[in-house]
């Protein structure tokens, strides 16, 4: 039995001083590596001040997704970039809050 797709739909585009990565699909153990690679690629192939990770299309994200974001944050810092998460769905925002990393990525703590 599969829970949704095991592949994420990831689109990357430059927008002003930011590089925006739009993710669609469940972020979990099965898709973590794909997300991590996409974020790494976005950081290393774009000159930008900020990496924006748009999670509007992500209904599920667990601790492996949190780790991917943290790794991206570290890589981004090496390239002088900050990382922000945009449009998280309620469940995803909750995961970021429970693990206390929400404010690292610009997600409010309500």
């Amino acid at each position: 039995m599969t829970y949704g797709r095991w592949v994420l739909d990831v689109r990357t585009e430059a927008a002003d001083t930011a590089v925006v990565v739009c993710v669609r699909g469940d972020v979990d153990l099965n898709t973590e590596a794909q997300l991590a690679q996409a974020l790494r690629d976005a950081i290393t192939t774009h000159q930008a001040d900020e990496l924006v990770v748009d999670l509007a299309g992500v209904p599920f994200l667990d601790s492996s997704g949190v780790r991917a974001l943290l790794q991206a944050r570290a890589t981004a810092a090496e390239h002088g970039m900050s990382v922000r998460v945009r449009n998280p769905q309620d469940l995803v925002a909750q995961v970021l809050r429970v693990t206390l990393v929400a404010d690292l990525f610009g997600v409010s703590n309500r």
């Binding site: 039995m1 153990l29 599920f60 667990d62 492996s64 780790r67 693990t99 206390l100 990393v101 703590n109």
Partner: protein
């Protein structure tokens, strides 16, 4: 000493003496030869790790024959009785001795070590003996108690007792994990604690620990990021660091900081472990706890979730020293993180109370003090009979047949449903765990751990046969 007691004394003495030099695979034989003097025939059944069937321990002693079967086949060679629907299973589930007498009178006697449910002892009695004879029952219960201790003490010395309890190959990750963990169930006069962890043969990442010293019950539930052997190792590092500090007298935050240090010294890939670390004073019901990025624990009272424990927040273990400045979640006026009672409107049922976790949980995240939000300790006072329910997100993220997340309200409903039967707490948890696992065909997205602690003398005593 009268004859009957003298006979039992002789039996137990013989078993104890022979046990010194018995390898694990001789245990069946040692018990048999001891009990034969009373005209009884015993068979020891051990419950499998998944707690669905009972496997018979061979009574014949070690065999010198080389077994040519493959590892998988070997494991299927034992006589097994399902827990559901058999008399043996009934004895296991209820911790009550069950009398039977088809051709010969016999007793099915639960085997525990302390309150850890190990299996069932089948005793075929002499022809004219009534299975309702009080002295016989008492003697058999004593025998089962001794067998329970012997099984636990012999486990480390050989593989037979492990083999009987496995229906298939255990992954390296699970082998590492189970070796680390304490037994699933423990009780004192005043409280009982029980845990379950699935999937039994493939766990990797989840873990739990507990330790009772004087009146302090230390307990923890852990969830390492990732899965498989890598996650098991992460969990092992965190657990070991915390144990060492705890055994040196360190408190909750010291334990968490030790885990931070150990994890960052070993791993550079931002791996972390979410965890609840708690201390319950079993004499007063006072609970202190730290939450390192983990799903909130619940207090259940008369079947309803009355408190979500939302204080004592800090970053997940492993991130505490790496992310200075993070984790300062919105501070509330209640800096010490005292707990917010969910609406205890009984009419609204457990849904309402449990939902407070999913929506309002972070309000009370009190990140005072240093970079990891260290210093804040959550507190709560339990009332007699209260139950503390801890879980990992594999439980609530489990999918139902309709594709939806299982979620917290459903967990609370299930916990209430299985508690109402007045069963031993370990049985409540066994049924609850299987219900969650079965609801989507036995496959989980992630490891699922449950720990239930009941601060109740009644519940503690109900856990003893």
């Amino acid at each position: 000493m009268d004859d009957a007691l003298h006979d039992w004394y002789g039996v137990l003495a013989k078993i104890l003496n022979e046990a010194h030099l018995a390898a694990p695979d001789s245990l069946g034989q040692v018990i048999s030869s001891g009990v034969r003097a009373l005209g009884m025939e015993p068979t020891i059944y051990l419950v499998d790790v998944e707690q669905r069937s009972l496997g018979a321990l061979p009574a014949g002693g070690p065999s010198s024959e080389v077994d040519p079967r493959s590892p998988g086949e070997h494991l299927r060679g034992w006589e097994r009785l399902p827990v559901e629907g058999t008399m043996a299973g009934r004895a296991f589930m209820t911790l009550q001795t069950v009398a039977a007498g088809e051709r010969r009178p016999r007793l099915w006697v639960p085997i525990v070590d302390g309150t850890e449910r190990l299996g069932v002892l089948d005793v075929v009695l002499p022809e004219q003996t009534s299975p309702d004879d009080a002295a016989v029952r008492e003697g058999c219960l004593l025998l089962a108690g001794l067998i329970g201790h012997l099984i636990m003490s012999k486990q480390a010395y050989g593989d037979t007792l492990h083999r009987v309890r496995r229906s298939r190959l255990m992954s390296t990750s699970a082998e590492l994990l189970w070796q680390m963990l304490p037994p699933l169930t423990f009780a004192t006069d005043r409280f009982v604690l029980t845990a379950m962890l699935e999937p039994c043969y493939e766990v990797g990442g989840d873990g739990f620990d507990y330790a009772v010293d004087n009146t302090a019950v230390h307990l923890s539930v852990l969830d390492a990021v990732g899965r498989g052997l890598s996650a098991s190792m992460t969990c092992a590092v965190a657990l070991s660091a915390m144990r060492a500090i705890r055994r040196a007298g360190g408190g909750l935050h010291a334990m968490a900081e030790a885990a931070d240090q150990a994890l960052t010294s070993q791993f550079t890939d931002h791996r972390f472990v979410t965890a609840i670390l708690a201390e319950l004073d079993e004499s007063s019901g006072h609970l202190r706890y730290v939450n390192a990025g983990h799903p909130l624990p619940l207090v259940l009272r008369r079947g309803k979730a009355v408190l979500t424990l939302s204080g004592g927040r800090r970053l997940p273990l492993g991130l505490g020293n790496a992310l200075a400045g993070a984790g300062r979640a919105a501070r509330s006026d209640e800096a010490a993180g005292s707990d917010e009672a969910a609406r205890s409107d009984e009419a609204a049922g457990s849904d309402e109370a449990a939902r407070s976790d999913e929506t309002a949980g972070s309000d009370k995240a009190a990140g005072t003090g240093g970079p990891a939000g260290a210093g804040a300790v959550g507190e709560a006072m339990l009332e007699p009979g209260d139950r503390l329910l801890l879980h990992t997100d594999g439980v609530t993220d489990a999918r139902r047949a309709n594709g939806e997340r299982s979620g917290l309200p459903r967990l609370v409903d299930l916990a209430e449903r299985y508690s109402a039967a007045g069963l031993p707490i370990a049985e409540t948890l066994r049924r609850l765990s299987h219900a969650i696992l079965d609801q989507q065909g036995g496959r989980l997205r992630d490891d699922a751990t449950l720990m239930l602690v009941e601060w109740s003398r009644l519940a503690a005593h109900r856990s003893v046969p």
